[in-house]
């Protein structure tokens, strides 16, 4: 299991170090003991752990070349790291641990820290180091991850700390039963005057297209994010236009479903928040759960069939001699004219030896950004079924470099008010048998947002 966890700043200085097991960091001692003439090494724990800390700094943070792997093995010690802005989190072990679990834990650790004190930065970590140690003590025991749901943690690890004296016995046992309970993500006795819930279907559409307009790969990765403000322990059931469900129900009444215009979609795969009863989904494909209070991600899904690609990019690059490039890019919006896309940005890469750029665009604003080696074209809004164009002349400095310019793809960002996968929420039913409010009393809001993921066209 995880032997220790360290947090470094960008210089490689240790901000947090928590050691769970002695085995880490004793590498230097191993080889020396048995060579009879070798120096005797009987370092204390404090000293030997520093070895591990330093090894990571020297070999990874201060490494000359780019990091080639998120898992590094130095002297039979394995280091897992993730980076958040300029902060490094490293988990260290000498055993054959579950690697996926270690990374999941590191991400979780980042989430928990962010939930407590916002952005993960050197300043915030230094300001909250006592809290971080307290958290690390709670969510990782002897290197085994324990309950790390922020909802539960916040009931007994608070920034003010001194709660324990005022707790009654009931409160204490409520805390422990929540932390260890089957519904560890929700506490009992939540009350709202107004029962309300918000569903956001957030999709990111990914595309890789050849210069000729052939789709090389396209998929939508979507998330259903729920904000629930519901009293008690509500039992929820979520339904969408999943092809498998619709077909199951539509047996016999197939005509009806097609008449009503309900298009169903084929979901390649989906994963759920731990509150969802997976066995029920597996057997009946129904999504039922007791939600955490507040915001959480109910599900993630992925589709690849019948994706609506909101934009088409048509590039044209012409090399005029060795010192000039002519670029023309056309974008076409491909959705209902009544809808508006927003925050549109097209990024056209330019060669490293660019000396000057002239741009003309029909709509929006375009600028050459030398530091980013790209022409950035921004359009605030654009309706469906429209077309726009940019042309640019790029002057190049003559170089001796034999190697051709790699021509990175043209990438695009945008936001559209529909789900490119075609997913529709059919219902979200709420039952709370103990309290007297029914499904009808709950105010529900649904919103669809489609964003660009990696949306690239090669040129």
């Amino acid at each position: 299991m995880i032997g220790g966890l360290f947090i470094y700043n960008h210089k490689g200085e240790v901000l947090i170090s928590r050691v769970y097991r002695d085995d880490i960091g004793s590498q230097a001692a191993d080889s020396a003991v048995f060579s009879s003439s070798g120096p005797f090494l009987g370092e204390r724990l404090g000293g030997s752990v520093r070895n591990a800390v330093d090894a990571f700094r020297v070999n990874v943070i201060h490494a000359r070349q780019q990091v080639r792997s998120p898992v590094t093995n130095i002297a039979r010690t394995s280091f897992f790291h993730v980076k958040r802005s300029n902060i490094w989190l490293a988990a260290v072990t000498k055993q054959n641990v579950n690697a996926a679990m270690v990374f999941e834990f590191l991400y979780k650790m980042c989430d928990v820290m962010a939930a407590y004190f916002g952005k993960i930065s050197e300043e915030n970590i230094k300001n909250n180091f006592v809290l971080i140690y307290e958290l690390l003590d709670e969510i990782l025991d002897f290197g085994y991850p324990q309950n790390s749901e922020t909802g539960a943690l916040k009931t007994f690890i608070t920034q003010q700390g001194i709660k324990s004296q005022h707790q009654t016995k009931e409160e204490q046992s409520q805390i422990t039963s929540q932390v260890t309970g089957q519904i560890g993500w929700r506490r009992e006795g939540i009350k709202y005057r107004r029962n309300e819930l918000f569903l956001d279907v957030l999709e990111s559409v990914n595309l890789l297209m050849s210069p000729q307009g052939q789709v090389l790969s396209a998929h939508v990765s979507g998330r259903v994010v729920m904000k629930s403000y519901l009293s008690g322990m509500p039992e929820c059931k979520f339904g969408m236009n999943d092809k498998i469900v619709i077909e199951k129900q539509g047996k016999g009444t197939a005509d009806e479903t097609s008449k009503s215009g309900k298009q169903s979609i084929a979901i390649d795969d989906c994963t759920f928040h731990q509150c969802v009863r997976l066995s029920k989904f597996d057997s009946e494909r129904s999504i039922s759960f007791i939600p955490p209070d507040g915001e959480f991600e109910l599900m993630r899904y992925r589709t690849t069939k019948d994706i609506i690609l909101p934009f088409r990019v048509i590039p044209l690059v012409r090399e005029v001699g060795r010192t000039k490039l002519e670029v023309k890019v056309v974008i076409k919006s491909n959705f209902k004219p009544s809808l508006l896309a927003q925050k549109i940005e097209v990024r056209i890469p330019t060669p490293l030896n660019t000396s000057g750029v002239q741009v003309i665009c029909m709509k929006g604003k375009a600028k050459y950004k030398a530091s980013e080696n790209a022409i950035v074209w921004k359009i605030k809004r654009m309706a469906g079924m429209k077309e726009s164009q940019i042309s640019a002349e790029i002057e190049l400095l003559p170089t001796n470099d034999k190697k051709k310019w790699a021509r990175p793809p043209i990438s695009m960002n945008f936001e559209v008010p529909f789900a490119p996968s075609g997913l529709k929420v059919r219902y979200l039913k709420v039952f709370e048998p103990k309290l007297n409010y029914s499904d009808h009393d709950v105010i529900k809001w649904v919103r669809y947002i489609g964003r660009s993921g990696i949306y690239e066209t090669r040129c």
């Binding site: 005797f40 996926a100 230094k126 140690y133 004296q165 016995k169 046992s173």
Partner: protein, 942 residues
């Protein structure tokens, strides 16, 4: 409230200030001071001097302050064990606190304080906490058992904590179950032979129920534990699979991967004809693809695993090529892994797309990635015959870019394409020859030379080209030199008239002016061949070459099967068995896929054989760079390799030849050493040969030279773990020779033959001094006793624990692994006696912190008896002293590797109520003290 200010104080005299603040009356000030101490500790300053002051703050009702003090204790208790005792009372009191959070905190922290003295006090609170009414305390206590076991395994067993832990598997709270499973799994790993995790259908059922209810982490612990279970038949396997599949939809990737591991393993047992088998295959693909939309680090772990899965069961992902296309912004480690998988999935159906992609990648920026992409194009050509032509033309396009490393990489792969499709693409040779000057890497140069030599008859100026390389012959790498030698000999055999001078030149360069034995040998062989029988030379050097196979870089099947059992773990990321990167006994347990059960045996087709293809299809793998040398030798000199090695069929059974590469890779790289034929080395100081020692053994009942204490035989390998072979044994030392006395019992229904034994590297270099000789086949229910002489000249690797020995035993059925602990006294040598002066000087010389104190309880012996008992095991008494009615014995011993251990033994003969002996040991390598103490105890108590 900002805490960052604590990080900034670096003034002199800081410690004194802190001390004053810690002892302040004001609570707030105290807390501030402790915070400062923790901050200094974090940045690596030594604040251990403040130990008593910080511990004084422990008695507080402020939970935050308490936690801080505990944190400090965990860090420094080990360096101040005596002071740490001061904290014990508070811990014990806290374990009784009405607040469950405080009870749990106390037991959790206590387990982290790795001081022997404290652990004794830990037992009682821990026992209570394991049965606490609050699940939070129980789940914490469960992990604490694993902590305690890590410090003192014996104590945990003696106190019966293991049974309590087993009971927790049936706890009503899922999180307690999960933590108990985690703790038991870890403890079981260090006792490979024990039956701790007694998994049976009932307990499995409990785990599967808990699986639905516990946290994401708990699900991982349970799934990882389930993966170690072997269902009794295919029906049980299927029912477990059915209950595990819902986990594939979990948001946590680690849960998904662990579920995949269970499914991949149990699938082995299902018949391919089953409908369910097909359903399961279909269910596996989507979650694997979904893993690729996780964060890059997890993608990397997922891709490394998918690489294994694709090799084991290519059918799962064969339609998913597109998701492995590289994105421009992927981190480089993701890109490289994706590329690997793309090649594995390439087939006639998707080759056009793959090639287009690869061509795109070959123009990217990262040099490693570009190289790999170019190489991938070559591999596609070899794998999919229909695409070969397009691949070659793509490669030629890339050569036209003149980018140095692209050209070199392209030439290396074109060489392979020539070998796969002889006489097809030689028209491109002219283009290749144009780029001769730009080649500066040995591999590319060697490849080019091979091409020129191989097709010398079609290249007009072959002699000039090769001659141009010859100028800097001695500056070339061996690889190029060897290739050049062979190339020129080939040229000579094809065009003897014009090239006589050239061949003589190269032969003399290789034989007379070179220091490299390989090169010289090959030179001489050619020389002799050419001078004695040119026809034979032609037959040998220009022999037809075996075609290379399509699949490359495959992981060896037995290793692959083992790695499948480790899906999700580091082993699957490194593609190495755990023994290759984990020290000591942990994780060395060899895992293998379950065999197909009897009920489905009939359905077995060649395809279903889990490991290895039938002999005819054994792939000749394209050698990696390092192997090229061997391959070239093979190519040019060896007889045409017509078939694969004959071991293939036995690979399927898992019975690899002990010395063969298969086992090596299982046990971890090159750890294995061939058993040295030499007997006991002279350094042992035993002039008597092993033959004589038998005589001595008969005669010497009392003599001082009689052998050391011999423990009764213990079962090392139970029959059920070794397909019916039971091994029990013990270690003996007699007159300087160590041996392992084994008793092999055949409890299976078939005859066992072909026994062999090997040791893994170990702390003292123990190795078999002779092969394991079982003269007759061992028939069912027969037992044979063997004494295996051991030497101490094997390879040394520090083990954990120090006296751990990992053994592999082979018979005609399979290879089995077990590990055992040998008593250290078998390593005490006969010439281990020091004179008094020497003893005194050495005792003073060894620093005091190396001194270790032990108690040997209940040993009612007097000094004489003790002394003679120990002497028979080569522990020598140097001097004896009587101080205030107590006998002090000063003793010494020497280990086979030359480490001296000095001892002071205190005996109180006058006091019948006190039968404990006090032992203090001094040694330059204090790690051995604990084991020497154990040896003392064993010898004295038997």
């Amino acid at each position: 409230m900002t805490d960052s200010k604590y990080f900034t104080t670096t003034k002199k005299g800081e410690i004194f200030e802190l001390k004053a603040e810690l002892n302040s009356d004001k609570k707030e000030k105290k807390k501030e001071a402790v915070k400062k101490v923790i901050a200094s500790m974090t940045v690596g300053k030594d604040v251990s001097a403040l130990f008593p002051d910080v511990v004084n703050c422990m008695q507080t009702d402020n939970l935050e302050l308490k936690k801080l003090v505990y944190l400090y204790l965990m860090n420094y208790a080990k360096s101040q064990p005596d002071m740490a005792i001061m904290a014990v009372n508070t811990f014990v009191k806290d374990c009784e606190d009405p607040n469950p959070l405080i009870r749990a905190l106390a037991v959790r922290t206590m387990g982290c304080i790795r001081v022997d003295k404290i652990t004794e006090y830990l037992c009682e609170p821990l026992r209570k906490c394991l049965k606490d009414e609050d699940p939070y305390v129980r789940k914490t206590a469960a992990v604490c058992v694993a902590k305690l076991h890590d410090i003192n395994a014996q104590l945990v067993e003696d106190q019966g904590f293991l049974d309590t832990l087993k009971d927790l598997i049936s706890d009503s709270n899922p999180m307690v179950v999960a933590n108990a499973v985690a703790a038991l799994s870890e403890i079981a790993e260090s006792h490979p032979s024990s039956n701790l995790l007694d998994l049976n259908p009932q307990s499995i059922n409990k785990l599967l129920t808990a699986l639905n209810e516990c946290t994401e982490w708990g699900q991982i612990f349970i799934l990882d534990c389930l993966a170690n279970y072997t269902p009794k038949d295919d029906r049980e396997a299927q029912s477990i699979c059915e209950r595990v599949t819902p986990r594939l939809s979990h948001a946590n990737s680690a849960v998904v991967l662990s579920a995949v591991k269970v499914l991949m393993k149990f699938m082995e047992m299902l018949s391919k004809d089953l409908d369910y088998y097909g359903t399961l295959l279909k269910k596996l693909a989507p979650p694997l693809v979904t893993l690729l939309s996780a964060e890059p680090e997890l993608q990397y772990v997922a891709l490394r695993n998918i690489n294994l899965i694709v090799q084991k069961r290519p059918e799962i992902l064969k339609h998913e090529m597109k998701v492995f296309f590289v994105k421009y912004n992927d981190p480089i480690y993701v890109k490289l892994e994706k590329l690997d998988i793309m090649i594995r999935l390439a087939s006639q159906a998707n080759i056009a797309q793959v090639l287009a992609e690869l061509k795109e990648y070959a123009t990217e920026v990262d040099v490693d990635f570009v190289r790999k992409a170019v190489r991938a194009i070559g591999r596609c050509a070899i794998k999919v015959e229909q695409s070969a032509e397009r691949c070659v033309s793509t490669l030629l396009d890339l050569i036209q870019t003149k980018v140095n490393y692209v050209v070199q990489e392209a030439i290396v792969v074109i060489k392979d394409i020539f070998r796969k499709y002889p006489n097809k693409y030689e028209s491109v040779i002219a283009t290749l020859c144009e780029n001769l000057d730009s080649l500066d890497e040995p591999e590319a140069r060697a490849a080019m030379i091979w091409i020129v030599g191989e097709y010398a008859e079609r290249i007009d100026n072959a002699d000039e080209l090769l001659e141009s390389f010859l100028e800097g012959f001695h500056d070339e790498s061996t690889q190029v030199q060897l290739q050049l030698l062979t190339g020129i000999v080939k040229l000579f055999l094809k065009k003897p008239t014009e090239t006589q001078e050239l061949v003589q030149q190269v032969l003399s360069l290789a034989t007379q002016d070179s220091d490299n034995p390989d090169l010289r040998d090959r030179g001489y062989i050619y020389w002799r061949l050419l001078s004695t029988d040119p026809v034979a030379a032609k037959e040998v050097v220009l022999a037809e070459k075996p075609l290379i196979s399509e699949e490359t870089d495959l992981i060896e099947p037995t290793l692959l099967d083992e790695l499948i059992c480790y899906i999700g773990t580091l082993a699957s990321v490194y593609h190495k068995p755990p023994s290759a990167f984990v020290e000591g006994g942990r994780g060395v347990v060899h895992k293998s896929l379950p065999p197909r059960t009897a009920s489905s045996e009939s359905a077995e087709s060649p395809e279903t054989a889990p490991a290895g293809a039938p002999p005819g299809e054994q792939p000749d793998v394209i050698p990696a760079q390092g192997d090229l040398l061997g391959d070239l030798l093979n190519l040019d000199l060896g007889p045409p390799v017509s078939g694969p090695p004959l071991t293939t069929s036995s690979v399927q059974m898992g019975a690899v030849d002990l010395l063969g590469g298969g086992l090596d890779s299982l046990i971890g790289g090159t750890n294995f050493v061939a058993p040295p034929t030499a007997a006991v080395p002279a350094s042992l100081g035993a002039p008597i040969g092993s033959g004589l020692s038998d005589l001595f053994d008969l005669t010497s009942g009392v003599g001082t030279l009689s052998g050391s204490y011999v423990a009764p035989k213990a079962v090392w390998l139970p029959a059920m773990k070794a397909k019916g072979l039971e091994i029990s044994g013990t270690f003996t030392r007699q007159v300087g020779s160590i041996s392992m006395d084994l008793q092999l019992t055949n409890k299976a229904l078939q005859v066992m033959t072909d026994f062999a034994i090997q040791f893994n590297r170990n702390s003292f270099g123990l190795a078999p001094a002779a092969p394991l000789q079982v003269h007759a086949p061992l028939s069912p229910n027969q037992t044979v006793e063997i004494s295996l002489p051991l030497s101490t000249v094997g390879s040394v690797m520090k083990m954990e624990p120090l006296n751990n020995l990992q053994v592999a035993v082979k018979n005609n059925i399979d290879v089995f692994y077990f590990s055992t602990l040998y008593p250290l006294h078998i390593l005490f040598v006969e010439d281990g006696k020091m004179d008094r002066q020497m003893f005194l000087a050495t005792w003073k010389d060894i620093p005091n912190e190396n001194e270790a104190q032990f108690q040997i309880r209940d040993c009612p012996l007097n000094a004489e008896a003790v002394s003679s008992k120990l002497q028979s095991s080569n522990i020598f008494t140097v001097a004896k002293r009587n101080v205030e009615g107590q006998d002090m014995l000063y003793q010494c011993l020497k280990l086979t590797n030359g480490i001296w251990v000095l001892a002071e033994l205190r005996i109180q003969p006058g006091n019948p109520s006190c039968t404990d002996l006090e032992l203090s040991l001094k040694c330059r390598a204090p790690e051995v003290s604990q084991h020497v103490y154990q040896a003392y105890e064993t010898i004295l108590k038997n």
